[in-house]
């Protein structure tokens, strides 16, 4: 196509400028994509990981208030409940880190598989989890962070219970965004009994899976009714709502992230526009001659616009690719961050890629429009006079 050749020739005219502009746009797009992974991380948690059939049952006063473990049995008997597991915060500090660096809970090994079938944990691993009291299942994000494999042993010192766990990894939650570690309810229960206590009689949250999304509201109402005048009044909510609330306080932080992202995007527009206008300024003589020969305004406008769009699209696409590469690097070296939580998974999702590409295209158009417009509209004679 002749047209493409013309664009390439014009961009090659001042190679250094094209490279600098392209480089600047590429870096800015990388940054935009990286920043956009943060709200995307929260969205992914809410829409992909949270299931529409799971319900959290917890004390109305807060997750740190507890429910009696016996309540779990009553919950299982509610109509429409496919499975339920009690969970309790273990607060284990991984020996080498000295502090809690990933969420870890005690769960009921016989039931947890049925409550989280969408996690796709292989059946043999769940069997091992049931069989071995010291078995633990680890989410892939944490597995990767520490380079653990199935069969490794790790020590967790609880910061809330007078118990240490010498755990054996028997399974993995095959999800890049999952940092959690599950240990056996019976392990904690017996460890507490061994110290002279009555065992693990309380739970933080009882997670329930409904047989049918339509039944969710009814189940939640029934459970709340059951607990209403007891010592531990419950407030049920869907898993999505639970996570949304849990990380709700990060909304303000996310707004700031988006503001910063917008500023960087604006940077891109300025960089591209600056370059476009420099190019147009220098070529005004040429453009005047083209117009004198007879090339119409629309053709000239189109050519200039196409150059700007071509440059920013190529640069932007490279930026998206680079961002994907960088996030792979980040994933391998970082893990769950207590400050960022799900915002810190740095995974470039489909929507982020689309946003990055769209931004590049849009920026190119925006940046190319104004100078091109001016150059195309200027009367021939005026430009020729200015130049010669």
């Amino acid at each position: 196509m002749k047209f493409l050749g013309l664009i390439r020739a014009n961009l090659g005219r001042n190679k250094l400028r094209t490279v600098l502009t392209g480089g600047a746009i590429m870096l800015a797009v990388v940054l935009v994509c990286l920043l956009l992974t943060m709200p995307a991380g929260l969205d992914a948690l809410l829409s992909n990981i949270a299931s529409n059939t799971r319900i959290s049952v917890h004390n109305k006063g807060g997750v740190v208030y507890s429910l009696p473990y016996s309540f779990t049995r009553k919950v299982r008997q509610v109509d429409g409940v496919a499975a339920a597991t009690a969970t309790m915060w273990f607060g284990g500090a991984f020996e080498e880190e000295g502090r809690v660096t990933f969420p870890n809970f005690a769960v009921e090994a016989e039931h947890v598989g049925a409550v989280y079938p969408d996690y796709k944990i292989p059946a043999e691993q769940l069997d091992d989890f049931r069989r071995y009291r010291d078995g633990i299942i680890v989410g892939r994000q944490t597995m990767r962070k520490y380079g653990w494999k199935i069969g490794d042993r790790i020590t967790l010192r609880s910061t809330v219970w007078p118990v240490n766990l010498d755990g054996r990894i028997v399974g993995e939650i095959p999800n890049d965004r999952s940092p959690i570690v599950w240990l056996n309810w019976t392990f904690l229960d017996e460890a507490l009994k061994a110290r002279g206590g009555t065992g693990l009689g309380i739970a933080n949250v009882v997670w329930v899976r409904a047989t049918d999304p339509e039944r969710v509201n009814a189940i939640m109402r029934e459970i709340d009714d059951m607990s209403r005048n007891s010592e531990a009044e419950t407030a049920c909510e869907t898993e999505k709502s639970y996570f949304a609330n849990f990380f709700g306080s990060m909304k303000a932080f996310l707004t700031i992230i988006l503001v910063v992202t917008a500023l960087v995007a604006l940077c891109i527009v300025f960089i591209a526009a600056n370059t476009a206008s420099m190019g147009v300024r220098e070529r005004s003589g040429e453009l005047a001659v083209l117009k004198a020969i007879g090339f119409g305004r629309r053709v000239i406008f189109g050519t200039l616009l196409a150059e700007a769009v071509a440059l920013s699209s190529v640069a932007g696409s490279s930026g998206v690719l680079l961002a994907i590469g960088l996030t792979h690097l980040l994933k391998a070296t970082t893990g769950w961050s207590p400050t960022l939580g799900p915002l810190g998974s740095f995974i470039v999702t489909g929507p982020v890629i689309v946003q990055g590409l769209f931004l590049s295209l849009f920026v190119g158009m925006l940046a190319g429009v104004v100078p091109s417009f001016g150059a195309a509209r200027k009367p021939v004679v005026q430009t020729l006079h200015e130049v010669f």
Partner: protein, 391 residues
């Protein structure tokens, strides 16, 4: 050397063009100062939370006073250890406390975990930075509460005189306290035994804070608590305790550095573009200066200074914009909450301090210097005869 005015006047001579290039740097400055402002606010909040004479006592292995407990007998024992400061009535300044994080509901329908600290009246003496600025301290053994300044208005019922609902009960807000910008301002304080009842805790205390009589008493006191064989306790300086909490904010620094590097290099490329164009347009001028006898070093320096001047204009615009933007965001968003994953919400107000602006200035200057170097080098290397021929 070429006069400074040469460099500066070349920036002001073409205001629109200079503005386009400086604007890119301005935007980077705004982005970085906003983020830095957020992190330094967070760090400042946490850093100011530790009193140099105070000691935090928790169960051995706990890293968080919300996940710890202190047996009553242990409390009775350490109360009378030597080295603890005493008040005018010769009572030891030790504040036994219970930390719980119940749900609080925001007016917008959201829900956050807030740190509720059950205390005895002696807490005000131990945490001497905490001062009641409105209303009064709660009456012991009552269902009254006092709120830190950061809590006010953020949740339903969090106003002086209102009824605040959390846990299993209702608490009347009788006072508001100030805590010198520390994380205490994101807390609600109520009577410790009332809290223990409400949260159904068998033992009322999760930990204790005590005040050493003098700096010299700190080490021996902490060691004595740690070494006591009867109870598995760990004592640390309050400052160290909070410093550890703020370590998690370090991941945010990584983010800022990432933004500064990526955006900075991009802006540097943009500045380079502008300067290359300027050098090209002023080829004859450069040739003349070289012909007149100005050295290559003088030309290099003059163009470097011009690039840095351009960047400085960008900094000024960006600094003003970030100050305005942070105020606007502060009004629109209220406080920014941190710490969701550790079960508490630390409310931080976004503030761009002079330290943040200094960092942004350094960034802007680096961008100008880095971006301007290539073009300045090209200008300096021009041989007068070629430059004059091009005229």
């Amino acid at each position: 050397m070429l006069p400074l005015s040469y460099s500066v006047r070349n920036v002001t001579a073409r205001p629109l063009r200079s503005l386009m290039s400086s604007s890119v740097i301005a935007l980077v400055v705004v982005a970085c100062s906003l983020f830095l402002g957020l992190i330094s606010s967070l760090k400042r909040t946490v850093a100011s939370s530790g009193d140099p004479l105070n000691v935090v006592v928790m169960r051995k292995g706990s890293d968080n006073d919300g996940a710890s407990w202190l047996p009553l007998a242990a409390y009775q024992a350490i109360r009378f250890f030597d080295g603890i400061a005493r008040d005018s009535a010769d009572q030891p300044l030790i504040s036994p406390e219970l930390v719980v994080q119940p749900f609080f509901h925001t007016p917008a329908g959201g829900r956050e975990n807030v740190l509720v600290r059950g205390v005895e009246p002696v807490a005000l003496a131990v945490h001497d930075k905490v001062k009641i600025v409105e209303g009064r301290m709660f009456t012991p053994s009552s269902h009254e509460a006092v709120l830190g300044r950061g809590i006010v208005g953020r949740y339903l019922g969090a106003q002086l005189g209102d009824d605040l609902k959390f846990g299993h009960g209702t608490w009347k807000v009788v006072g508001i306290f100030d805590a010198a910008g520390s994380s205490f301002e994101s807390e609600v304080w109520i009577d410790v035994r009332e809290l223990a009842n409400d949260a159904k805790r068998p033992s009322p205390f999760s930990g204790a804070r005590l005040r050493a009589a003098s700096a010299a008493d700190l080490e021996p006191l902490m060691r004595r608590i740690d070494d006591d064989p009867r109870y598995a306790l760990h004592a640390q300086r309050e400052a160290d305790y909070y410093a550890k909490q703020s370590e998690s904010a370090n991941s945010l620094y990584v983010l800022v550095i990432g933004i500064a590097v990526l955006a900075g290099i991009g802006a540097g490329f943009g500045a380079a573009n502008a300067m290359y164009a300027a050098v090209q347009a002023r080829t004859a001028e450069i040739g003349t200066l070289r012909a007149l006898g100005f050295s290559r070093g003088a030309i290099l320096l003059a163009f470097q200074i011009e690039a840095v001047a351009l960047a400085s204009v960008g900094f000024v615009i960006g600094a003003l914009a970030s100050l305005g933007l942070s105020k606007l965001l502060g009004v629109l968003l209220g406080g920014v909450g941190f710490g969701a994953a550790t079960f508490t919400t630390n409310v931080v107000s976004l503030r761009v301090s002079s330290g943040d602006l200094v960092a942004a200035l350094i960034l802007a200057v680096l961008i100008g210097a880095f971006g301007g170097f290539g073009p300045a080098w090209r200008a300096a290397r021009m041989r007068p005869i070629e430059a004059l021929h091009k005229a």
